[in-house]
Amino acid sequence: MTKFILQRLLAGFLTIASLSVVAFFLLYLSAGDAARNIVGQNAPQELVDRKADELGLERPLITQFLEWAGGAVQGDLGRSWFTGQTVTEALTTRLPVTLTLTIGAVLLSAIIAVLLGVIASQRRGIIDRFIQIGSVTLAAVPGFLIALVLALVFALTLRWFPATGYVRPGASLVGWLSTITLPIIALSIAATAGVAQQVRGSMIDANRLDYVRTLRARGLPERRVLFMHVLRNAAAPALSVLGLQFIVLFGGAVVVEQVFSLPGLGQTAITATSQGDVPVVMGLVILTALVVFIVNLAIDLLQGWLNPKMRQS
């Protein structure tokens, strides 16, 4: 297991390192007239030159990259060209919001998806069909539309939740919950649909396995067969989908954060890309790669824990 983890860590490091090189050169080459964007469109050329000089944009790209990479390995990703804030600080202050949404949405969708998947696979018939059609329909609805409808109904009409804004959990736990509930629900709906389908399929397959039939024949209580054996067997593929959903949701949070005006990475991503704030965009690329890597590793480990056979493979 240790060897497996070490191998994965090395592979992860190499992937992120090569991604950094490619991303850096692509981003910096396409940055356009960055200094002009920063000082403003109406500024005279002299000011533009002053800014370019201050940021060292006139130096060879390779020099700029080596300086960035040197800082990056020590955890220093540079400073935002626009706000002057360190990229590390800009991302770490916003990461908790996006992670809260993503983890919340994954947990919520996992719970509901398992319930729906189990019901659909056990009851079959009309309930199964209803759940299936419902899942496919919901999965097809764009996230922003769900977010808008939720905001309209629960925030603007019923006034149960605030329509926009974020409260830190440290400031008010109730306030925090009220600001993240609708975004989490908005994010989780499409994810639930996908995972529920996966759970249902895997449960049906697992139900047909010989040893499950044997357990039932031996008179083991149905609930125990279902949750201890069938679900455990069906969990591995569901986990893969859930892992994938986590990554999709992490990116999908952009739209939901925008609709609810939450200070997460999504807002940073939109601002940084539209302004051409290359250091921040680079930071986002690295952070996203790290998240994808960590989630994949966690899924592999979880699957190994659930299914010992996978550890050997």
Partner: protein, 510 residues
């Protein structure tokens, strides 16, 4: 059994979540927060920097006015009044300005506001990278005569200087910021509020707490101000309807009816004009534009009423001048100087030798709806002006101001005086005089405006405006309206020389 327990636990967590969030709906009503001394102000531009020498202004002014004082202040009508300096005086030649700072003002770190700090602030702004650094180009030197007396020496007279000192050029921050690498996010000013760093999320939410012992308590109306950035139009409208903002600027004029329907009052301003900059007046790139008849033909070819309806959803005023009603150069009759007349446009083109048509290459971009370029192309096409749009990306402004196109469509701020108009778009050093041509007549007006005051200044500004319109140096189409929304219980007085009202003019209704 372990799994069953987990499921039960999960169910319990969900139930608690639902219960707790339901309680959230019973939080104090929105009206209560306004009365409790908090202002929730919506902002639509991110804050460039809190470092005074990098600071922007216009829509970003509230961030800076919360924590800093400016050397001078401007009333809503633009009149200059005391700020950090309570006295100021020009010498005979109008090239030396002496400012006397008020006594006993300190920065939030306890350091005193002295003439020496103010002098250094001015020089740092002039030599820094703020978008308006050119406001202080005329400043030759700034020095402290004594602890409270600041002497600013100019290379040549600059009638805009006092206004500049009431904006970002006049911001004064603590010397402790000068060498601080985090200065852009760590303001230390002498202003009415201090930034609550704990509650602030840079680029999203800024929380300011009123400072005790501020020298001008009359201008402080709230104990706390929370500024939330709304970069998304739907989020801003939801915040208005959901009561998450008390006052905010609009993002687009189309939000006006929706905000009013939500019970907000909207006050309109016209601070920008949309149309064409006919930059190549010397015919370097497109010889046709050297001929005043061609430039006038472009003006006659614009159906301004149609453009207001089509491009600004009706929220605009057709105009052929670049100055707005609050400017000393404004002349109402110039709004209608070039009535829509295709035949006249064709006739002028024919006289100039372009009877068979004129080709004009201009830049288009992806941040303005494609339809806008189509509308312009169609309108100019009717008069025989064949527009070819050249698509550009992020490099648009650099190329545009570098003289790549003879003319281009633009939305520009309306200058507040003849002098400001010259500095912005007409003088050889002006950023929007992209071919850097010198117009002797404009330079004559500039000399007059440099020292003129009162009626003399107004007359020179108006004469300049008339000249610019007659010469068709631009082809403005309309002044675009923007709105500032306030909920009941809050009053606001708009600023004639700034897109965002000044912070002390947003207050509880008495």
């Amino acid at each position: 059994m372990k799994h069953t327990r987990t499921l039960r636990l999960a169910a319990a967590v969900v139930a608690t979540l639902v219960g707790l969030t339901a309680c959230a709906g019973e939080q104090p009503s929105d009206d209560a927060t306004a009365q409790s001394g908090e202002l929730k102000l919506g902002v639509v531009n991110p804050n460039t920097s809190f470092a005074p020498w990098e600071a922007a202004w216009a829509m970003e002014s509230p961030y800076l006015q919360a924590v800093y004082d400016t050397l001078l202040r401007a009333e809503p009508d633009g009149t200059i009044v005391a700020g950090l300096a309570d006295k100021w005086e020009w010498d005979q030649s109008k090239t030396k300005l002496t400012l006397t700072l008020r006594d006993g003002v300190t920065f939030s770190d306890g350091a005193p506001v002295t003439a020496e700090v103010a002098a250094e602030s001015l020089k740092r702004f002039r030599d820094g990278t703020a978008a308006n650094a050119s406001y202080l180009t005329s400043v030759a030197d700034a020095e402290a005569v004594d602890e409270k007396t600041l002497l600013v020496s100019l290379k040549s007279p600059d009638p805009s200087l006092l206004t500049s000192l009431s904006q970002n050029a006049g911001l004064v921050g603590s010397p402790a910021m000068w060498e601080d690498p985090d200065a852009s996010n760590n303001p230390i000013g002498s202003g009415p509020y201090v930034l609550d760093k704990e509650e602030t999320i840079v680029g999203s939410t800024y929380v300011f707490d009123a400072k005790e012992g501020y020298w001008d308590p009359e201008s402080v109306h709230y104990d706390k101000i929370t500024m939330n950035l709304y970069s998304d139009a739907t989020a801003l409208m939801n915040a208005i309807k959901g009561g998450q903002v008390d006052a905010t600027a609009s993002q687009t004029p189309t939000q006006i009816p929706e905000a009013e329907a939500a019970g907000f009052k909207s006050q309109l301003t016209e601070a920008t004009w949309a149309g064409f900059v006919l930059a190549d007046r010397e015919g370097k790139l497109n010889p046709a534009l050297k001929d005043v008849r061609v430039r006038q033909a472009i003006n006659y070819a614009l159906d301004r009423e149609g453009l207001v309806k089509g491009l600004a959803a009706g929220y605009g005023s057709p105009t052929a001048q670049t100055f707005d009603k609050s400017s000393d150069a404004y002349l109402p009759e110039l709004d209608d100087a070039y009535p829509y007349d295709i035949e006249k446009a064709k006739k002028l083109l024919a006289e100039a030798g372009y009877a068979s048509g004129l080709d004009l290459v201009m830049p288009s971009n992806n941040f303005v709806p494609e339809s806008e370029f189509a509308v312009y192309k169609e309108q100019l096409g009717k008069a025989g002006i064949n527009v070819t749009w050249e698509t550009t990306g992020d490099d648009l402004f650099g190329k545009m101001l570098g003289g790549t196109w003879a003319a281009f469509p633009m939305v520009l701020e309306t200058p507040k005086s003849g002098w400001a108009g010259i500095q912005f778009a007409l003088a050889p050093w002006a950023p929007f005089n992209v071919f850097k041509g010198t117009d002797p007549k404009v330079m004559e007006y500039m000399t007059t405006l440099g020292t003129a005051e009162g009626e003399e200044a107004q007359k020179a500004s108006q004469d300049l405006n008339r000249y610019v319109v007659e010469q068709a140096l631009f082809a403005p189409a309309y002044r675009a309206q923007s709105a500032f929304f306030t909920k009941p219980g809050i009053s606001v007085e708009l600023q004639s020389d700034n897109g965002m009202p000044y912070l002390w003019n947003i207050k509880p209704e008495s």
